[in-house]
């Protein structure tokens, strides 16, 4: 239900590519790199990139082109980082 609500808010997920993502405590999580059916992928860093697989349901809001997610940076590191 929650993810359906988010899907209604974001009608075109593809438009989020290249937008910056921040955690709930204001940490930079990177830039949206790709959109998947249930997730969006962000990458952080210039040479050895950290990559995060973030559920679409985690999206909290989009403000002035910046995407905010519900979880804080510690949670993101522990649960969403995959590379």
């Amino acid at each position: 239900m929650e993810s359906e609500r988010k899907n209604r808010i974001v009608e075109d997920w593809q438009s989020l590519v290249n937008k910056p993502v921040y955690s709930s405590n204001g940490k930079d999580i990177g830039i949206v790199q790709a959109i998947q059916p249930e997730f969006f992928i962000t990458s952080f860093g210039s040479i050895t990139k950290d990559r995060y697989l973030i559920p679409k349901a985690s999206l909290q809001s989009i403000n002035s082109g910046i995407i905010y997610i519900k979880e804080d940076s510690d949670f993101v590191e522990q649960n969403f980082k995959f590379e």
Partner: protein
């Protein structure tokens, strides 16, 4: 000017005002939507690259570098997963992210093999990576 091939297409109706370009883009979007629906756990670029190589080059060896991401919610034993992959493909994956991601270079990984891999392990949350035209031992890859 109307596209002759499109005009010859019995499904084309000039009254609808659909150009060949619009129809092609629409078909491509439908194809992407279908690929997402059929392979929700696979990165779309990887999927399309495999489809492209597999259908274009009949002698393509199915050379891919894949990253298998396991669910962070389940307590996955990555050592066991490594052994399972080794038994199946005779290639030992390396661990990229502790308890979460394995990376392995494989050959003969065609679309049907990718489907089998996903269906064989419910712990797999996502597969990304790249397909290459020729096999390589190198582990450097573009994102």
């Amino acid at each position: 000017m109307e596209n002759k091939n499109l005009v010859n297409d019995p499904s084309y109706h000039p009254d609808q005002g659909i150009t060949a370009a619009e129809q092609l883009l629409s078909s491509y979007k439908e194809f992407l939507a279908q690929s997402t629906k059929l392979f929700p756990k696979v990165d779309q670029k990887l999927l399309l690259d495999i489809v492209h190589f597999e259908t274009t080059y009949k002698d393509w060896e199915g050379s891919v570098l894949i990253r298998i991401v396991y669910s962070s919610n389940s307590q996955v034993n990555t050592e066991k997963k490594k052994e399972e992959i080794y038994e199946k493909y005779q290639k030992m994956p390396e661990e990229v992210k502790e308890d979460r991601t394995l990376r392995v270079k494989l050959i003969r990984m065609y679309i049907k093999n990718l489907e089998e891999l996903i269906n064989s392990d419910n712990d797999i949350e996502f597969i990304s990576g790249s397909a290459t035209l020729t096999p390589s031992d190198s582990y450097s890859d573009s994102p």
